[in-house]
C-alpha cells in the first residue's frame, strides 16, 4: 500500500517538473524578443552610461582615463550645469501644473453632453498629432520679433514688442508655452477617457439630491478622476524632464543658457563638445531625477488617489 502511494507521489512531482519546464521554455520564447531588445538597447546602455560617467573619453566615445567621480564633481560645480538644473526645474513648474489644469478644464468642457461636442474633442486632441518639430517651427514664427502674430497684436494695441525668444527672462516662458500647447492633446485625451469612465449613476444620484455643478465637481469628479490625473501628472513630469526638440528649434539653449534644459545640455556635451564622460554623468543625474520623481509620486501621490 505504502509503496504505491510513494510511487504515485513520485510520478506527480516528475510530471510537475516537466510542465514547469514546458512553461518556462514557452515563456522564454515569447519573451525573448523583448529581453534581447531591452538588453541591447536599454540595460546595456544604461550600464555603459554609468561606466562612461567615470571616465574621460576620446572623440569616438572610447573610455580612456578612469577619473572616478571627477565628472560628477565637475558637473556639480560647473555653472552651466547649475543653470541647466535651474532652467529644468523652472520649466517643470511652468509646464506641468498649467498643462494639467488646462487639459482638465478642456476635458470637463468636452465631456458635456451637448450637440457637436465631437468636433471640439477632435480639435483639442489635435495637438497630439503634431510633431515637436512642426509645433516648434510654428511657434517660432508666432514668437517672431516683427512678423509674429504676438508682437503684431501687442504693437497694434500700442504696447512695445517683446523679444520672446531672445530675452533670457522670456525665452523659457516661450518654450514653456509651446510645450504646454503641444502636450494638451495627449493629456486631454487621457483625462476625457477618465471622465467618461465615471459611472453616470453617481451624477444622477447627486442631481436628485440637488448638488450644484461645482459641488459635483469637487465631491465626485475630481476624486473619481484622481487615478487619471495622477497618471497624467506623472507622464507630464517625465516628459518635461525629457524635453529636447522645442529647445533645439526655438532657442538652441540660449539666450545665455536660460533654456538649456537637461537633455539639451546632455546632447550638447556629447554630440557638440564630444565630452561623453561628463555627458554620461549628466545622463545618470537625469535618470536619478526621474527615478526619484516617479518613486515620490507613487509614494505620496498614490495615497491621495482614490481608485474605484
Amino acid at each position: 500500500m505504502k509503496s504505491t502511494a510513494e510511487l504515485q507521489e513520485k510520478s506527480v512531482t516528475k510530471i510537475d517538473t516537466k510542465w514547469r519546464f514546458i512553461y518556462w521554455r514557452s515563456a522564454i520564447l515569447y519573451l525573448l524578443p523583448s529581453i534581447i531588445l531591452f538588453s541591447v538597447f536599454l540595460f546595456y546602455p544604461l550600464g555603459k552610461t554609468l561606466y562612461l560617467s567615470f571616465f574621460l573619453t576620446d572623440q569616438q566615445g572610447n573610455a580612456n582615463v578612469f577619473v572616478g567621480l571627477e565628472n560628477y564633481q565637475y558637473i556639480l560645480q560647473a555653472e552651466s550645469f547649475h543653470k541647466s538644473i535651474k532652467a529644468t526645474i523652472l520649466f517643470v513648474l511652468y509646464t506641468v501644473p498649467t498643462g494639467v489644469i488646462i487639459s482638465l478644464f478642456l476635458a470637463l468642457l468636452a465631456n458635456e453632453k451637448i450637440k457637436g461636442v465631437g468636433i471640439f474633442r477632435t480639435i483639442y486632441s489635435s495637438t497630439m498629432g503634431i510633431s515637436v518639430a512642426a509645433s516648434a517651427v510654428v511657434w517660432l514664427f508666432i514668437f517672431h520679433p516683427s512678423m509674429g502674430i504676438l508682437n503684431q497684436l501687442i504693437t497694434s494695441i500700442g504696447g512695445t514688442s517683446i523679444d520672446w525668444l531672445l530675452h533670457p527672462n522670456w525665452a523659457l516662458v516661450s518654450v514653456s508655452v509651446t510645450t504646454i500647447w503641444m502636450n494638451i492633446g495627449f493629456s486631454f485625451l487621457i483625462i476625457l477617457g477618465g471622465l467618461q469612465n465615471i459611472d453616470d449613476h453617481l451624477y444622477e444620484s447627486a442631481r436628485i439630491s440637488g448638488a450644484s455643478y461645482f459641488y459635483q465637481l469637487r465631491r465626485i469628479t475630481i476624486p473619481m478622476l484622481s487615478p487619471t490625473l495622477f497618471f497624467v501628472i506623472t507622464v507630464s513630469l517625465i516628459n518635461a524632464f525629457q524635453t529636447f526638440g522645442q529647445v533645439d528649434i526655438l532657442t538652441q539653449g540660449g539666450p545665455s543658457e536660460s533654456t538649456n534644459l537637461i537633455v539639451y545640455s546632455i546632447y550638447r556635451e556629447a554630440f557638440v563638445n564630444y565630452q561623453f564622460g561628463t555627458a554620461s554623468a549628466q545622463s545618470i543625474f537625469l535618470f536619478i531625477c526621474i527615478l526619484i520623481v516617479t518613486i515620490l509620486q507613487f509614494k505620496f501621490g498614490e495615497r491621495k488617489v482614490h481608485y474605484q
Binding site: 531588445l37 541591447v40 536599454l42 552610461t49 562612461l52 468636452a110 489635435s126
Partner: protein, 270 residues
C-alpha cells in the same frame, strides 16, 4: 437656467477651440502667403496659391523624407505590436515561475528615460555601422514596456473560460493567440499601433543623431533643415513644410481619436 448653461458651455468651447487650434490655422494661412504679404503683416492671404508647397518640394527631397518617415513609422509600429503582444501573452497565459518578478522588471524599464541611454546607443549604432540606415531608426524601438503593459491589461480581461475552452478543444498555444487573443483585443492593438506610429513619426532627437544625409532622413529633420535654410524671409515655404508634415498624423488622429482615447485611458488606469 436651462438655456444659460449650454450657452456658456458653447461659448467656452468655441473660445478655447479657437485658441488651441490657432497655431495650426495660422500655419495653414501663412503657407499660402508670399514673402511680401508676410512683411505687410497680413493675416489672411490674398489668394490661395500653391507656390510655397511647390518650393518646399523643390528645396528638399521632401517626398523622399515623407516616404522614409512613413516606412520607419510603419515598421516600428508593426515591430512594437509583435514584440509587445508576444511578451504580454506570456505574462497573461503562461503560468511560468517568476512571472511577477519578470513583469516588474519590464514595467520598471518605463522609468528609464530613453535619453539616459542615448549616448551608448549612439555608439552601438556607430559600431554596427547603422548610421544612415533604416535599422537604426526602427529596431531600437521595437520593445516598449508601455505596449506590453497596455496589451497585458487587455489580455487580462479575456475570460479564463475562453482559454479553458480552447484547452479542452486542444488548440495549441500559438493558435489560441492567433485566433482568439488578437481578434478579442483588436481595440488595444489599434490603440497601440496608432500610438506607436504617431510617436515614431514625430520622433526628433534620435533621427537627428543617426542620420546625416538624405538617404534615410525623416521628415521631422527635413523640417528643421527647411527652417534653418529659409530663416530669412520665406516663412511661407517653411509653413508649407509644416502642413505637409502634420497632415498624415492629423488624419490618423482624427480617424482614431475615439479609439485612442479609450485605449490609452484603459491602459493608464487598470
Amino acid at each position: 437656467m436651462k438655456i444659460l448653461r449650454p450657452t456658456i458651455t458653447y461659448l467656452l468651447l468655441i473660445m478655447t477651440a479657437v485658441i488651441v487650434f490657432f497655431p495650426v490655422v495660422y500655419a495653414f494661412l501663412i503657407s499660402f502667403m508670399s514673402g511680401a504679404e508676410l512683411l505687410q503683416g497680413k493675416f489672411i492671404p490674398e489668394s490661395f496659391h500653391l507656390e510655397n508647397y511647390q518650393k518646399a518640394f523643390e528645396r528638399l527631397p521632401l517626398a523622399h523624407y515623407l516616404w522614409n518617415s512613413f516606412f520607419v513609422s510603419t515598421v516600428v509600429m508593426l515591430g512594437q505590436l509583435i514584440v509587445s503582444a508576444l511578451a504580454a501573452y506570456a505574462f497573461v497565459f503562461i503560468p511560468f515561475k517568476g512571472r511577477n518578478i519578470v513583469f516588474f522588471i519590464f514595467i520598471s524599464t518605463m522609468m528609464i528615460p530613453w535619453e539616459a541611454t542615448m549616448i551608448p546607443n549612439f555608439l552601438t549604432i556607430q559600431q554596427l555601422d547603422w548610421i544612415n540606415n533604416y535599422q537604426s531608426l526602427t529596431i531600437p524601438f521595437f520593445a516598449i514596456a508601455f505596449g506590453t503593459f497596455l496589451l497585458r491589461q487587455h489580455f487580462l480581461t479575456i475570460p479564463k473560460e475562453l482559454k479553458e475552452a480552447s484547452d479542452i478543444a486542444g488548440l495549441r498555444s500559438f493558435k489560441f493567440f492567433w485566433k482568439v487573443v488578437i481578434p478579442y483585443c483588436r481595440t488595444s492593438f489599434v490603440t497601440l499601433g496608432a500610438y506607436g506610429f504617431l510617436t515614431t513619426w514625430n520622433m526628433y532627437l534620435w533621427p537627428l543623431l543617426v542620420t546625416n544625409n538624405d538617404q534615410v532622413r525623416t521628415v521631422q529633420i527635413g523640417l528643421k533643415q527647411l527652417q534653418t535654410q529659409e530663416m530669412a524671409s520665406e516663412w511661407g515655404v517653411v509653413m508649407a513644410g509644416v502642413i505637409i508634415v502634420i497632415i498624415p498624423t492629423l488624419i490618423l488622429l482624427f480617424l482614431g481619436q475615439k479609439q485612442l482615447q479609450k485605449g490609452l485611458a484603459q491602459g493608464a488606469l487598470k
